[in-house]
Assembly symmetry: C2
Homo-oligomer: 514 residues x 2
């Protein structure tokens, strides 16, 4: 057994089943070991942003890490933006980054770089293996580190000689860290505040946005009249028919201020106080209403679900009935122009049970409410603002949940950042339907230009937002990577094509001209 | 005038004429200023790796920096791999990276990240502007810093409020740094060594590989019998008919050892001693023959061209005639299968005068010798080993030299990393012909697997190199981004299509099935 095989066996012993990779020469022994070791599924991405984004999507749905396999500093660098998103999603990810052999490091070869330096801004845990004899233990620790708190980015750097040198040990899994328990005193404190009659809103994030947490939050809301909120960009939210309804914070600062007006107590459950996405010259960054109180029921590293359930007890809300949404999207009749509303109404109507929506289109975000009455589903959003996230996330979600349909609502500008994801979707036959909102512009920037108070109507500025000249042909792009694709231009055509797409399996792309 | 305008005016005052960008909300004032300021050409890339790679290509051909415009940490992160290549090419680049407004920084918004941390591994100089009143001066210093030594990466971070706040100053250009002068003592020392009769090789890099330096090196070679060498991956080399011939170091360690056998003195001119690209279990990393002497005529920050000219004087080689290559590619008659040799013979035959070859295909590298007798041209190569470099470099080279044809010899695997470059090629009507070497595999990795001593013939490992299933359709991909494309399968068809491509203008892609 060599170090690579020891590493791989230790990863699988720790429960890692999938490796998204884009290897190079320095990772060849790891690649060879994939055939010697049972239980690790390798999935190739043609660009590292696909690899890391897929690991993010996998983690959000599987609740445990996939491994990534990346080639030296530049390979890691290409994956950093989606690791930034994964970090903001609290997704557990284990990066394996190949490095030059320790004997080669001092020669400053062309690919030599500061790998730890690249890793540091996105990683909670970084280690470079020093011997083939320890890589197994290093792997077990990396997996454990990735599961600390709500989920972390663990980066294990693997010099090539630690992969090719002899090893004899496979490390057992280390204990999976648990979320910390919220103290009784905190529960009592929040219960007292919630009983005081002040206008209260619970801002939920993390596992608290899944069924059990929502169920408890729903009882609390019924008992106390509190609002239930989630961030604009929650990593994962379970919603739809039969689920407790959660209001989503709007995107723009002034909308959030209006949305939160009157709130006297904001209770954080795994979340942070809401702030503006960007700073603007004349708009607030801090969005909690002035004079309102902030209380922490659960920090992100604490068990917010259990805390909500304890709060149900403390409030005597066990018999309160959580209000859930009902199915209410079936009577939509498509007509007229294709736009963000028409797309969302068709999606909500035809979405199958337990589908996964991966959202990266501002026009989809704007019609959040329309999917409330859809069949029960999971919503994944762009947590870190680094566009190019959701096409890869769709891959990971599809690998984690092969029996669930993935619907990727995707802006055309952002889709281009990791367009290579389509190839992996085809190769792995991911059951994902990608809807491209083809407005052929960085539409949000044209708006933001005005919002930040910049004044111009010149051609140079406009050219930085406009994606015409040439127009992207998404049908050609998808077909070039082996994904079946269609272009639609009316609400009726979109509805028919989308309905059909929900009934078949495998990757497909719909270019929606809006 | 606001800070953004002050910055932009100061950049143009310092001679920066082109801004490759992919902006976001935090850069909107900079974008607006593009219309208020004359003399800055903005060029949009749909992914930041395109932006930074284009800046690298521009710098290699223009000899001065372009600006990049990048959106916060993740935008910079997406551009890091090609900044790594630019750094290895000693290309001057001025990155402008937007940041959150200083008033917004403390709120840990989703896009907040450690921008300096991202920048550090690739940047020689980093500064974050503290006031709109100093951004002009900061810009002038960034340009100057980028021109230090042989060329550097300067990263200027621009908090949004330093862009939108009032400013009143435009900074004058700072003096452009000169390369340091090599001392007379060093010249005399090298001359004495070169006269001693030992078998000598000059390893040239940087400006020494352009006409003047080559001319001098050619006289020295004639006078002393020394060999003239360049690195496997020289940033820029002028070659072809009428130019002094330079031998290129081969790629693999054992080939280099054989190539350098018998060398008793290695004279470095802006270069480092040759080392293996990767480390291997049983192969050397250090490739200078044992017992041979290494002497530095010029460090990278010194003027190697002037040093070579001084050495001509010291050796009394003024009357020596530099041997130059002659045109010898015209009689090629294409026939049979399409392969790396056939492609290079057609390229060499039809290449117009003063074309620029951007090389990122190992099969092109292997036929370096066949282009020796082509019309005079510049060769640009993948300096840092981070694939995804040359499609963007072709953009920058085409912008810097609009009257010269660019030929991009491109592997299919590496092309996918920055495939979005094709869109910018179409929008800007870059005169570039991209030849995709479509072997539908990471061919070099299948070879490297054996070379590193890994043993496997399993399906998992093979799946990490194989780009079939699905096969990439480069004609569809190119057309999807507005670039005309053709697929060819025989040497004769390739020759005909390539010959035709050399006679027209504008972007085109040829998918060469090999």
């Amino acid at each position: 057994m060599n170090g690579a095989e020891s590493l791989l066996r230790s990863l699988t012993a720790s429960g890692v089943e999938v490796c998204f990779g884009n290897p190079g020469t320095s990772e060849m022994h790891f690649v060879a070991a994939l055939d010697a070791v049972e239980g690790m599924r390798p999935i190739l991405g043609l660009f590292e942003g696909v690899v890391t984004g897929a690991a993010d999507g996998y983690a959000r749905m599987a609740g445990k890490p996939a491994a990534t396999l990346l080639h030296l500093g530049p390979g890691l660098a290409n994956g950093l933006a989606n690791l930034h998103n994964a970090r903001r999603a609290s997704s557990p990810v284990v990066n394996i980054v190949g490095d030059h052999a320790s004997t080669h490091a001092r020669f400053e070869a062309p690919l030599t770089s500061d790998i730890k330096g690249f890793a540091r801004p996105v990683s909670h845990w970084i280690h470079s293996s020093t011997s083939a004899l320890t890589v197994g233990a290093d792997a077990a620790r990396a997996v454990q580190a990735s599961m600390e708190g709500a989920g972390q980015i663990a980066t294990l750097i693997l010099p090539a000689d630690t992969a090719w040198s002899p090893a004899d040990d496979v490390a057992d899994a280390l204990p999976t860290p648990s979320l910390a328990t919220v103290s009784d005193a905190t529960i009592e404190h929040i219960a007292a505040l919630a009983r005081s009659g002040v206008r209260t809103a619970f801002l939920l994030r993390g596992k608290a946005l899944q069924t059990r947490g929502l169920e408890a939050a729903g009882r609390i809301a019924t008992k106390t009249g509190a609002r239930l909120l989630c961030d604009t960009f929650a990593p994962r939210l379970q919603r739809g028919a039969g689920r407790v309804q959660v209001e989503r914070l709007p995107y723009f600062a002034e909308q959030v201020v209006e949305f939160l007006a009157g709130t006297e107590l904001l209770v954080l459950v795994g979340s942070q106080p809401p702030v503006s996405f960007f700073g603007y010259p004349d708009k607030p960054s801090w969005l909690t209403p002035e004079g309102s109180r902030i209380a922490v029921l659960a920090h992100p590293h604490e068990d917010g679900t259990a805390a909500l359930e304890a709060l149900v007890q403390a409030l005597g809300a066990q018999q309160s009935v959580a209000r859930v949404t009902t199915r209410a999207t079936q009577d939509y009749v498509p007509d007229g122009a294709l736009n963000g509303e028409a797309i969302m109404r068709s999606v909500a109507k035809h979405l199958p049970e337990h589908a996964i929506i991966a959202e990266e289109a501002s026009l989809a975000m704007g019609y959040y409410g329309l999917a409330e009455g859809a069949a029960p589903h999971d919503l994944l959003t762009l947590t870190g603002g680094a566009i190019g996230s959701m096409m890869p996330v769709s891959i990971g979600a599809g690998i984690a949940c092969p029996d669930r349909k993935v619907v990727n609502l995707q802006g055309d500008g952002s889709a281009m950042y990791t367009v290579q994801a389509l190839w992996t979707q085809a190769r792995e036959n991911i059951d994902v339907v990608t809807v491209i909102y083809a407005n052929r512009s960085y539409k949000i920037l044209a708006n933001e230009l005005k919002r930040v108070g910049a004044r111009t109507d010149g051609a140079h500025a406009a050219s930085m937002f406009d994606l015409h000249n040439p127009s992207l042909d998404w049908v050609s792009l998808a077909q070039g990577m082996g994904v079946e694709a269609m272009r639609v231009e009316t609400a009726r055509d979109f509805d028919a094509v989308f309905a059909q797409a929900m009934k078949r399996r495998g990757p497909m792309l719909i270019e929606a001209l809006i």
